[in-house]
């Protein structure tokens, strides 16, 4: 063994387990992979937003030299896939290759594999598709109207998902309120912009290994499930392997037609591997995007600040298919209960089909849109009764150990501390409502707050949400952790290895993590809903405890000591009774694998979070085993001449339970806030007639080093009783309140309220003009 450097690693910012590979360029992504005989695959896409497929003629393309395989719907089982089969069977609405209709520009109806990209592209052009163009609808509000073009035959008025939630007595509560206000918020759509595009290599060797799919994914087991279903195969016929992944952010959470096509093309090409890699333009136009939403709210409060009722309506632009739409809708609405004590609540969500690119999961799962809307609305309510926004929030937030109106069970809850700590750090009382100016009179400063809470896990895979882990300890004391969890850059493999090492009582550098290979590792639903540290972490913890027990059993037998008196601490087996070191960990392993014992140490862990059945249709039930919380404060400086807003600083206090790796936790927060700032000011997919107009990094701008925002993170550790070493999930929440915190700060600075994202200088100037006009009139 190398010198153990990291005993008791939990709570320490140990270097990433895969870090050296990443900083040297040696880490392999599917993007980098090449296999002998590998073909290039390309998708055949619809140029029309809405059309019936009358015929497809591939004969000319097939004759093109260099073309190895062409597939269309007729080569498939015509089995649809979707992401919410268990709760919303009718939202399983997409065929891997469409056979009758295309529903957005880019909809897949076939694929080609050829010796190189040029040949594949030439072949695509030689495929004759005869379409009957149908009237299309691009605007969600138009699509809801009776008589609008019907995009899916089984769905009336294009209402793909309807979520009616209703708790308490809203009418009475509004009557009893002293102040009632209505607001409408408009949230733009956005793109994930993972730097590694969607890419996969499918190989289907019918007579030997069956299918192997190397794919840049957040959820290999979900991809496997969808492939097995649509290809009518057993789960163990398909091996899905994840390598290093260049970002996911929700965009790589499901099987896409390209994954299906790569496998089927390979089969047709006699087992030659087929690589399909999206260009940046394809990535923008044909992967998934954020739901654009209209969030209408009407709420009532008492003079003393008691939040009486929240009502409203959410309309979301779903695009051509459902993808994760139902879950996004549920999350966009139900999160409110985790943040605010609210008894009377009625919001109906409508996810509308339109002939536009498919909306799906993206970091925050609808929470970013609701975060902007709710937290802006809450600020306006506080202003309406002349109450400080921080005081108003403190009065209405949820508490530890409570059950919400929709039966969510909150255990640990550090929200109050998050608010207090961030407010103190930001100097809230000195800064808020003080009409402050910067260096010059036209530079106005303001401060605003937003809150958020998040789940750690969500029942999206059939009925369970479990994760498994295995620990295999070799005779020299080196350790393997096998986990199904998919590290997409957030550092899951590192955190899980830290948990395993801590539980085993050994140094972190003993561990090698083998992850996310459906043929080798235990099952895991994937990286989403901030679930990995909590759920997969618990599985790793259990596996490590199991392995430890196996070691200690042998030591106990050998030394005739009660196993309950033994433990492993800092690389040594100790007798707890006598407080003596019995032997080193290495020696213990020698013993396990000795002539007398010869027992392999293989620990297993399986964890299914304690939740109650959730009915996504009513929003009732406990979706997550625990919840994480945060408060975020933005200080801005507004240039009243140019309308440009500069974010001076953001503060984020986050109840993370316990930071397994503080540096990684901070990274998640900083990255989320950066994404949130971009989304607030400039990230927006521009679309015309169903076509995305800015599918590149020149026209769709992301935050760069110049223009980034200083962020102070404050970690609040509430030691969740169910979390591994008290940890909670936290990868998404910090993105949720950013837009609202900035919008609230903008109002504090210059007295204008913007309700439409992105907040551009032009909108700021226009609002300032209108304000001036109104003031003159008054």
């Amino acid at each position: 063994m190398t010198k153990p450097n990291f005993t008791n690693p939990v709570g320490k910012s140990v270097p990433r387990i895969d870090g050296k590979g990443l900083v040297t360029g040696q880490a392999k992504y599917v993007f980098d992979m090449k296999l002998p005989g590998m073909l290039v695959g390309k998708m055949l896409r619809s140029p029309h937003a809405h059309a019936r497929i009358l015929s497809i003629d591939t004969s000319k393309a097939e004759q093109l030299p260099g073309v190895s395989a062409i597939i269309t719907a007729k080569d498939t089982n015509l089995i649809k896939f979707g992401s919410n089969e268990y709760f919303f069977p009718h939202t399983v609405d997409q065929l891997p290759l469409e056979d009758e209709k295309v529903r957005y520009i880019g909809d897949e109806l076939g694929a080609v594999a050829a010796i190189d990209e040029e040949t594949a592209e030439k072949a695509l052009k030689l495929i004759d598709v005869e379409y009957e163009i149908l009237p299309a609808v691009f605007d969600m509000q138009e699509a809801m109207k009776p008589g609008a073009p019907q995009i899916h035959d089984h769905v009336r008025n294009n209402m793909g998902v309807i979520l009616p939630t209703n708790f308490g007595n809203v009418e009475r509560a509004l009557k009893e309120s002293d102040y009632v206000r209505e607001d409408v918020f408009y949230c733009s759509d956005a793109a994930h912009c993972c730097l590694e595009p969607h890419v996969c290599i499918g190989r289907w060797e019918v007579f030997s290994d069956k299918i192997t799919l190397w794919v840049s994914t957040q959820a290999p087991f979900k991809v496997r499930e969808a492939l097995a279903k649509t290809l009518k195969l057993e789960l163990n016929d398909i091996r899905v392997i994840k390598l290093a992944v260049g970002g996911g952010f929700g965009g790589k959470l499901e099987m896409l037609p390209m994954d299906f096509a790569a496998c089927l093309l390979s089969k047709k090409a006699g087992g030659l591997p087929v690589k399909i890699c999206y260009s940046r333009e394809e990535e923008f136009c044909f992967s998934r995007r954020k739901h654009g939403m209209i969030y209408k709210l009407k709420s009532g409060v008492k003079k003393d600040g008691t939040l009486m009722a929240i009502t409203g309506e959410v309309i979301a632009d779903g695009g051509g298919y459902c993808s994760y739409g139902p879950t996004v809708m549920a999350a966009a609405i139900m999160r409110i209960f985790i943040v605010y004590k609210i008894k009377n609540f009625r919001i109906t969500g409508y996810r509308i089909y339109t002939n536009t690119p498919v909306s799906g999961a993206i970091r925050g799962f609808g929470g970013v849109q609701s975060g902007f809307s709710i937290e802006s609305h809450i600020d306006l309510l506080a202003r309406g009764i002349g109450m400080d926004p921080v005081a108003f929030r403190l009065k209405n937030i949820t508490e530890p150990n409570m059950v919400t109106a929709n039966k969510m069970i909150i255990s640990s809850n550090g929200l109050k501390e998050c608010i207090e700590r961030s407010a103190r750090a930001a100097g809230w009382t000195e800064k808020h409502a003080k009409n402050r100016q910067g260096k010059e009179p036209h530079l106005r400063r303001g401060i605003g707050i937003g809150l958020a809470a998040d789940v750690m896990g969500s029942k999206m895979y059939k009925s369970h949400e479990s994760a498994g882990a295995m620990i295999k300890i070799e005779e020299d004391g080196s350790i393997y952790l096998f986990t199904g969890a998919a590290d997409t850059g957030q550092g899951a493999n590192t955190a899980l290895s830290q948990i395993a090492a801590q539980a085993l009582g050994v140094s972190y550098d003993r561990i090698r993590c083998i992850a996310a290979d459906t043929g080798i590792t235990p099952f895991d639903t994937g990286s989403f809903a901030s679930r990995v540290t909590f759920i997969s972490g618990n599985a790793a913890l259990l596996a490590a405890q199991d392995a430890k027990k196996q070691i200690l059993e042998i030591v106990a037998q050998e030394h005739r000591i009660e196993i309950s008196d033994l433990d492993i601490e800092a690389e040594n087996i100790i007798n707890r009774k006598t407080s003596t070191v019995l032997m080193s960990f290495d020696k213990a392993l020698e013993l396990c694998y000795s002539f007398d014992y010869g027992r392999q140490i293989i620990g297993r862990g399986s964890f299914n979070p304690k939740t109650t059945p959730v009915d996504f249709r009513t929003g009732e039930g406990n979706v997550s085993s625990s919840y994480s919380f945060e408060a975020q404060i933005a200080e801005v400086e507004v240039n009243t001449e140019t309308g440009v807003i500069k974010v001076l600083k953001m503060w984020d206090a986050h109840d993370v339970g316990k930071a397994i790796n503080p540096s990684s936790v901070e990274s998640q927060i900083e990255g989320s806030v950066a994404m949130g700032v971009g989304y607030t000011f400039y990230e927006d997919l521009e679309m015309k007639n169903g076509r995305i107009l800015n599918p590149n990094f020149a026209d769709y701008r992301l935050m760069r080093s110049r223009g980034c925002v200083p962020i102070e993170t404050i970690l609040i550790e509430t030691h969740d009783p169910q979390g591994p070493f008290g940890a909670k999930g936290m990868g998404e929440a910090a993105l949720l309140p950013t837009s609202a915190a900035i919008a609230n700060a903008l109002q504090d600075a210059v007295g204008i309220r913007l309700t439409e994202l992105p907040i551009t200088p032009a909108k700021v100037l226009k609002a300032l003009e209108e304000k001036k006009k109104k003031e003159k009139e008054a």
Binding site: D116, E117, E118, E281, E641, T642, G643, V644, G678, F681, Y682, R701, L702, M703, R704, R706, G707, T760, P761, A762, L765, K766
Partner: protein, 282 residues
């Protein structure tokens, strides 16, 4: 394959380059590549035809230098924006050049992109044209026989490209009496092309402006001079109200484009620029 095949040429002298450019059919000049190679990629993607010959100017050392003789500054067309940004010779009114370079693209782009490429591509939205107009720059073109033609920046942007010739040098006269102010606002994010940009150059003596040049780039047309504002400012006795007053003497059509925000913003930038010009020269 990112690019369609072409024949690559790398002349080492300007003379050789001029000859190749004049003789090879369907050729394009390659300077920094930040525009040309990008364009060739996009043409390939769209299935459109691309040039058969590419003449790289990278090996012509005489084209990448900044020379100062007396008051005349000559910049080789292949000088990168980073070199200009770091050049110690660009001081006084010419200090505007490095400050403009800072806003163009990103570091990697500035390390590659050249001033010649920037000007010869004649983008409507980039930063340099307005500045070149104000600095009264001259563009030195060479034809296939090596014959030089000097065109003022103003004529170049008014009258069209000179694709048959090679832009080899940009020259300008340094004027110690004048200062130059450049203002811009980004389109979307802080690192972005300008939505509107403008440049003002002029002197200020005995509380009066003189030799004022104003050029504005509204992002739609090529940068153009605002003669009306120049006339107002030249000889104008500066007061505290001058920046605000100038706004009533502009050639509004130049700024207004078709966008209320641009209209407002260009006025705000202009006001600030006039104020700063006076301060800088005082």
């Amino acid at each position: 394959m990112l690019l369609n095949p072409f024949t690559y040429h790398a002349p080492t002298t300007l003379e050789e380059a001029c000859k190749l450019h004049g003789e090879l059919p369907d050729n394009r000049l390659l300077a920094g590549g930040t525009f040309l190679i990008k364009t060739l990629k996009s043409l390939k993607k769209k299935g459109m035809s691309t040039p058969r010959h590419i003449i790289s100017l990278k090996n012509i050392s005489e084209l990448s230098s900044v020379k100062k003789e007396w008051d005349m500054l000559t910049i080789g067309a292949m000088t990168t924006l980073t070199t200009l940004y770091e050049s110690a010779q660009l001081t006084g009114d010419l200090a505007v050049i490095p400050s403009v370079c800072r806003n163009i693209g990103t570091t990697t782009i500035r390390n590659m992109a050249t001033i010649g490429g920037n000007l010869a591509c004649r983008y409507t939205w980039t930063e340099f044209p307005a500045v070149m107009l104000c600095l009264e720059a001259a563009l030195h073109f060479f034809d296939k026989d090596g014959k030089e033609e000097i065109v003022t920046a103003e004529d170049f942007f008014k009258n069209g490209a000179k694709t048959e010739k090679i832009l080899a040098f940009v020259s300008m006269k340094r004027d110690k009496e004048t200062c130059c102010i450049y203002k811009r606002i980004s389109q979307k994010s802080p690192v972005d092309v300008p939505l509107v940009s403008l440049c003002i150059r002029g002197g200020f003596k005995n509380n009066r402006f003189h030799h004022v040049h104003v050029a504005v780039n509204n992002g739609i047309d090529f940068a153009r001079r605002d003669n009306r504002l120049e006339n107002f400012l030249n000889g104008h006795t500066a007061k505290d109200s001058t920046p605000e007053e100038s706004l009533h003497h502009i050639d509004a059509a130049l700024y207004d484009a078709n966008d209320d925000y641009k209209k407002q913003i260009s006025r705000a930038l202009l006001r600030e620029a006039v104020r700063e010009l006076r301060e800088a020269c005082s």
